[in-house]
């Protein structure tokens, strides 16, 4: 995970990116809410089992964290792995081409 391989694998799938979009909009969602948002808002017909597997990949990559409260399991977004990526290439202090005036 140190080289971000899992992060890239996790981000490679469009459904998983949509899951992250929805968790960025509101953290702390049950599996049911995530599935509802995917099907109703995005017309993604993934089965509950498929979404559960996507969440497992995102969790393995550290992009999603789960917590249990009472009888319920909630999923939260964790952006730390993305920060590692930006630090690797973007935060070197060198001005990028976008900063040069045309």
């Amino acid at each position: 995970m140190a080289d971000g391989l899992f992060t890239f694998e996790a981000l490679a799938d469009p459904t998983r990116r949509t899951i992250l979009d929805e968790l960025a909009e509101k953290s702390g969602q049950t599996l049911f809410e995530i599935c509802s948002r995917l099907s109703m808002k995005h017309r993604l017909g993934s089965s509950r089992q498929a979404v559960s597997q996507h969440l497992a990949v995102l969790e393995a990559a550290g992009l999603v964290e789960t917590r249990r409260e009472c009888r319920y399991k909630f999923h939260d977004l964790n952006t730390a792995p993305l920060r590692h990526i930006t630090e690797r290439w973007l935060d070197r202090g060198a001005p990028g081409p976008e900063e040069s005036t045309p």
Binding site: K26, Q29, T30, L31, F32, E33, S36, R37, M40, K41, R48, R68, C70, R71, Y72, K73, F74
Partner: protein, 131 residues
């Protein structure tokens, strides 16, 4: 054919009756003793007393707990009730201490929210688009 009655399992019928009437606002329709402790206990909507009854059924069967625990862990509701305004109902019920596992979300044309009925179930409320 039409749906006349549906049921939810409840941990405690007396407690469930209080929640479904005093908090949610349904009215009791039938309350008939069955056996030593159980009751045939149904509630209906005050807006439609002759409509579908909801049976508050004792949760004693051994299959009920694993079934409901698995649903609750994934946030899956066992029933859906229609309300005029999910957000207003969310505010009202939250004010009464009801716990929501899903706050109101616009799901395309439908707005939904999910709360804990304190008797072992998650219930979804939904506002359908105006026809």
């Amino acid at each position: 054919m039409k749906i006349h009655l549906t049921s939810v399992f409840v941990d405690d019928q007396a407690k469930a009756l209080r929640f479904y009437t005093e908090v949610l606002g349904f009215v009791k329709k039938y309350d008939v003793p069955v056996g030593e402790t159980d009751r045939w206990l149904t509630v209906v909507s005050p807006e439609n007393p002759g409509g579908t009854e909801l049976l508050l059924e004792p949760a004693g069967h051994p299959a009920v707990k694993p079934y409901r625990d698995a649903l609750a862990a994934d946030g899956i509701p066992v029933a859906q009730f229609a309300v005029d305004d999910v957000r207003a109902e969310y505010e009202r019920l939250s004010g009464l201490g009801v716990r929501f596992t899903q706050e109101p979300v616009d799901m395309g044309p439908v707005t939904t929210a999910v709360f804990d009925d304190t008797c072992g179930n998650l219930i979804q409320i939904a506002t359908q688009p105006q026809e």
